[in-house]
Amino acid sequence: MSDFLRNSIRFCLFILVQVYVLNKIPHLHRFITPYIYYLFILWLPFTVSRQWLLVIGFITGLTLDYFTMTPGLHAAACTLIAYVRPFIIGVLTPKDNTEFNYREPSARAMQWTPYAVYVLVLTILHHGYLVFLEWLDVGSFLGFLVKLLATTGISLLLVFTVELLFSRKMKFRTNTA
């Protein structure tokens, strides 16, 4: 399956799950909104150029926004993590490219600890920016912090559950292919 097709399917699945499962389940608490869709951006292949990452991030966020009727909110957060993603990957992955030939970020490609850091940083950035923007609109600072922590916690739980449930088949990029 080509990368494009793979990621298109993944895009649809993540948006649908986010819109029709996570946004529909009865709220655990007003501070907790589980998010999973941004994992799509985290899972994009390494080969995607930074320009395209930004565009894809923007479109992903905007698509969700039009379902949740908050145009721009998730788009802004997604653009941010799409922008920061290459820097984090650059810091966390080995510089030696002969060893490193996986297609997309995963626990197996990056080792568990760097991958966990990668997910954690981008999750906090995404949620932080999201909650910050909401806070500008309505809310208090303490609520902002609590919501950030709670939402980050529940999202991380979700991300790692997904990671363990769907172990992606990691194909090597080889010279022959």
Binding site: P71, T79, D137
Partner: protein, 292 residues
């Protein structure tokens, strides 16, 4: 000028990041202020379509609750039908009874209770339904049971605290007073125990004009059923030469195969009517012991 282009090409990722950020924030704040989202018209079409599809699935799961709600509502509306009320002959009347009256002086004859069928058979000779309402909810013996579309289903024969047993029309001992909608002639609807889709309507004399497709209703002389409940439509007309009566095959209006929600109808005059009936019989059958 060249430097400007160099600058742009050098920082083009950062610049596009900024552009997209500003774009999304502009979307966000203009929406928050005016609630007019950019491209919302187009986006609404798309999300609306997807939401509709999802809603079909979601509605499917809520169907039962919705059905019950609708059924309860129908039940309250059935209670308002004019056929539930009768007019008292006020010039002859001496005592007021406690039955509630409507504003025009009609008194209530039938009251309705919603119920759900919890058990139902159609393939036995003696078919019973079980419904989830019993004496604690006001169900009594001999109350009539109607389907959610108002078609006749059966008669309550036994009640426990929270459940009732209903003798279905598809019971070989079931016998319901019926009348033809067109001519108003009375007959009796029974079941021969063969096909759960058809009842038999007996005791319609051959002088009456009967056509295939005529509606058969519960008769006004039935003690249990309110008048005018649809029993079914005539499917086949045969003449029984030995009795001179028709033997009419009636297609049941209620679909007994998938009964879910039913209405239980209580005739508030039932006790009085049956008592009178029995006393009359006693007088007629023992005329010599009771001087008239």
């Amino acid at each position: 000028m060249r430097n400007v282009f160099l600058f742009i090409s050098r920082y083009r990722t950062f610049i596009s990041f900024l552009v997209l950020q500003v774009l999304s924030l502009w979307f966000l704040f203009s929406y928050n202020r005016f609630h007019r989202a950019r491209f919302l018209g187009v986006a609404n079409e798309v999300t609306g379509r997807i939401n509709t599809q999802y809603n079909k699935v979601e509605d499917f799961f809520a169907l039962k609750a919705e059905n019950q709600r609708l059924h309860r509502f129908n039940d309250s509306l059935l209670g308002l039908l004019p056929r539930n009320f009768s007019v008292h002959d006020t010039s002859m009347r001496q005592l007021q009874d406690s039955v509630p009256y409507d504003t025009a002086g009609h008194y209530r004859r039938y009251s309705y209770y919603p119920a759900t069928v919890v058990y139902n058979t159609v393939n036995a000779q003696k078919n019973y339904l079980q419904i989830n309402r019993g004496s604690a909810q006001g169900i009594r013996d001999n109350m009539a049971v109607m389907g959610s579309d108002g078609s006749a289903v059966g008669v309550v024969v036994n009640v426990s605290a929270n459940f009732s047993q209903v003798m279905s029309l598809l019971h070989v001992q079931s016998s319901v007073s019926a009348s033809l909608k067109r001519s108003g002639d009375f007959g009796t609807a029974e079941w021969d125990g063969k096909d759960p889709r058809y009842l038999l309507l007996k005791r319609i004399p051959k002088s009456v004009e009967v056509k295939k497709g005529d509606s058969v209703l519960t008769s006004p002389v039935s003690f249990s059923f309110p008048p005018g409940c649809l029993l079914g439509t005539i499917e086949a007309v045969t003449l029984d030469n030995t009795t001179g009566m028709y033997l009419l095959k009636v297609k049941t209006a209620a679909n007994f195969l998938n009964l879910q929600q039913v209405h239980v109808v209580g005739n508030l005059d039932f006790e009085e009517q049956t008592r009178l009936n029995q006393e009359t019989k006693k007088i007629i059958e023992e005329p010599k012991k009771t001087p008239r």
